[in-house]
């Protein structure tokens, strides 16, 4: 577990340093994720080390969003005034985006002959 956590934290650190040093618009953890995939391709054994902790983290991903969500208490007055239209915009746009994304994916997959197997 210590090895896996060290691996994940080190690659997050690499990502943060790269994002700042190269002035990239991407967040450090996303760059760290890309760098870690590259490491797995070069050194497949690293993936076996990371797997148990990574799987446990991803299985409980929802929990990690709770603290940011509680931040809603600081915005209740703004949401009180504009709450209904903001909520409508979020619900409709999220529904549309999911529908459009999935329909485009299946249509292009069928057109390009990419089978689901």
């Amino acid at each position: 577990m210590i090895q896996a956590l060290t691996l994940l934290l080190s690659f997050q650190l690499i990502g943060e340093v790269a994002a700042r040093a190269l002035n990239l618009p991407l967040p450090g953890p996303v760059l760290g994720m890309l760098a870690l995939v590259s490491l797995f391709i070069l050194l497949p054994r690293a993936q076996e080390i990371a797997r148990p902790v990574a799987t446990a983290l991803l299985a409980n991903l929802s929990l990690l969003f709770v603290p940011a969500g509680v931040g809603i208490v600081g915005h209740l007055d703004r949401l009180g005034n504009d709450g209904a239209p903001i909520l409508l915009a979020i619900v409709v746009s999220t529904g549309l985006a999911i529908g459009v994304g999935a329909v485009v994916f299946s249509a292009v997959a069928r057109f390009a002959g990419v089978r689901d197997d």
Partner: protein, 238 residues
């Protein structure tokens, strides 16, 4: 015997109370989710947020005090994002094979999410800081906050809108995709990851492992695209 008020004022200084409360509230949410037979609208994040917000409000605790404890949980978002490398690597062959559908669905989903949200909000007279905070709502939290700051939004408001978007996506994805008769787990997962980032991805992992992996890819790719698209699209609404 020490008065309860004294114990409380001692505990309220440290991070322990709010860290424990965050875990306990999520556990309650997760138990309710399981007890409901994993119904998508019984969302554990939503339940935990409502319980904690109500507790903060009753105890008159400022969010900053709460966050001192909860930050340990919040911090794990970074390593968890890096951990997405594992399902990405595991599913690399399928991802390479589906590169055309992936790119097409990413462009369509990401554009739809930003344009339709800004259009609806703007039609109801929302502008300025609130509108700018809404633009990156489909991207994963760390990216969305950075974009919001860059385009003149409020990062803390964006954090809340990102969470609301994620919960919405997790709740409505299954009914919408069933209605559209999309049976391909890759298409279902990917679309949810693009539109509803980590919370959508977490939901996809609960439903199907392949859907979860594709949701993770969708979330990662949309983090890149939103950072580019959201500022551009926002200029048409200002």
């Amino acid at each position: 015997m020490t008065e309860f008020a004294d114990i409380w004022s001692y505990l309220a200084q440290g991070p322990l109370v709010w860290l424990a409360a965050t875990m306990a509230a999520y556990l309650v949410g997760d138990m309710a989710f399981r007890a409901s037979g994993r119904k998508p609208f019984v969302n554990p994040v939503l339940i935990a947020v409502v319980l904690l917000a109500a507790t903060l409000w009753t105890t008159q605790t400022p969010y900053a005090t709460y966050f001192e404890g909860a930050q340990f949980v919040h911090f794990m978002l970074g390593p968890a994002t890096v951990a997405l490398a594992v399902p990405l690597y595991t599913h690399r062959a399928i991802i390479r094979k589906t590169i055309f559908p992936l790119v097409a669905a990413l462009l369509a989903g990401s554009l739809t999410a930003v344009v339709s949200a800004l259009f609806i909000a703007n039609a109801f007279g929302i502008e300025g800081v609130t509108l700018a905070s809404l633009a990156p709502k489909s991207a994963t939290a760390p990216v969305a906050l950075g974009v919001s700051e860059a385009v003149g939004g409020s990062p803390t408001l964006t954090a809340v809108l990102v969470i609301l978007t994620g919960i919405t996506g997790a709740v409505i994805a299954t009914p919408i995709l069933n209605l559209l008769r999309i049976r391909d787990w890759r298409a279902r997962g990917f679309a949810v990851g693009v539109a509803a980032h980590g919370i959508g991805t977490a939901r996809a992992f609960q439903v199907n492992e392949q859907a979860g992996a594709f949701a993770g890819v969708g979330m990662g790719l949309n983090a890149l695209l939103t950072a580019i698209l959201a500022p551009l699209i926002l200029t048409f609404f200002q």
